[in-house]
């Protein structure tokens, strides 16, 4: 899973640029020049009409479909739909690749969720450009469950696309 704007460019302001990107190179666990799990390139991408047609940030999510069973080696996140009370009582965790750090290095931050809306989750977990598409996840009994997809950075708050039932159902369908 990733942000819709990672797989499908919308409202770029550049004629001819909007649309699905040509391909994405996935490098799990990259650490600088080291690729512990190798890499897989995919041009099999998914998003939804709410993003591709309307550019609605509440629908800013998508997926990169891999042609290999890479997940059998790396493992994977669980994901789920959680109610408002559970999310606002949760610590959100984000690990990603912020562009203000040495090239290709993974950084992690965690903080309590600030607020939720019907299809958004808001937090001040530290992020920077380049981290879009990271899972925003809870840790329960040592296991990691995504409840949002990090997508936006702002001056006072950052936010992700909340995994609600329609999002969950698309995620299940896309990974099948």
């Amino acid at each position: 899973m990733t942000a819709g704007h990672v797989v499908y460019i919308k409202n770029s302001g550049v004629p001819g640029r909007d649309g699905f990107v040509r391909s994405i190179k996935v490098m799990p666990g990259r650490n600088g020049a080291t690729l512990p799990y190798g890499s897989v390139t995919s041009n099999n991408l998914r998003t939804v009409q709410g993003w591709a047609t309307n550019g609605d940030e509440e629908h800013d999510y998508g997926a990169i479909i891999l042609g290999t069973d890479l997940g059998l080696t790396t493992g994977w996140f669980g994901f789920g739909v959680y109610n408002d009370a559970t999310l606002t009582a949760s610590v959100g965790n984000i690990s990603g690749y912020p562009g203000d750090k040495p090239d290709g290095t993974q950084w992690y931050a965690a903080r309590r969720i600030a607020s939720v809306a019907a299809r958004k989750v808001y937090y001040d977990i530290d992020t920077f450009g380049g981290q879009s598409g990271s899972a925003v996840y809870r840790i329960v009994d040592g296991k990691r469950y995504a409840f949002a997809i990090h997508a936006y950075g702002g001056a006072t708050t950052n936010s992700g696309t909340r995994i609600v039932t329609p999002v969950y159902n698309n995620m299940v369908a896309w990974k099948a």
Partner: protein, 93 residues
């Protein structure tokens, strides 16, 4: 169509290719994306309308740089030149 920031990253020897380009501050939340300058050092960033933007530029072997640009209501494209000074990236933390 929304206005764009059209920029070029340069160093002492000319254009800097594959610099990492991000919007570090904007009038409203924006996608948390990072882009790369082209082989000719140029880049184009989308905006979400008029206002003040801070563009951050990082490239291996150069000191990180930030540049401020203001997009006005009638602008379609705003030019930005970011000059990078050689030096190491500071340790993260």
């Amino acid at each position: 169509m929304r206005p764009v920031i059209s920029g070029i990253a340069t160093g002492p020897d000319g254009p800097v290719a594959f610099a990492r380009i991000m919007i570090a501050a904007s009038p409203a939340p924006m996608p948390d994306l990072a882009g790369l300058s082209g082989e000719d050092g140029t880049f184009t960033l989308g905006t979400n309308g008029p206002g003040r933007y801070v563009v951050a530029v990082y490239a291996d072997g150069f000191v990180p740089a930030r540049a401020e640009v203001t997009v006005r209501p009638d602008d379609k494209s705003v030019d930005l030149r970011v000059h990078l000074v050689p030096g190491p990236l500071p340790p993260g933390g």
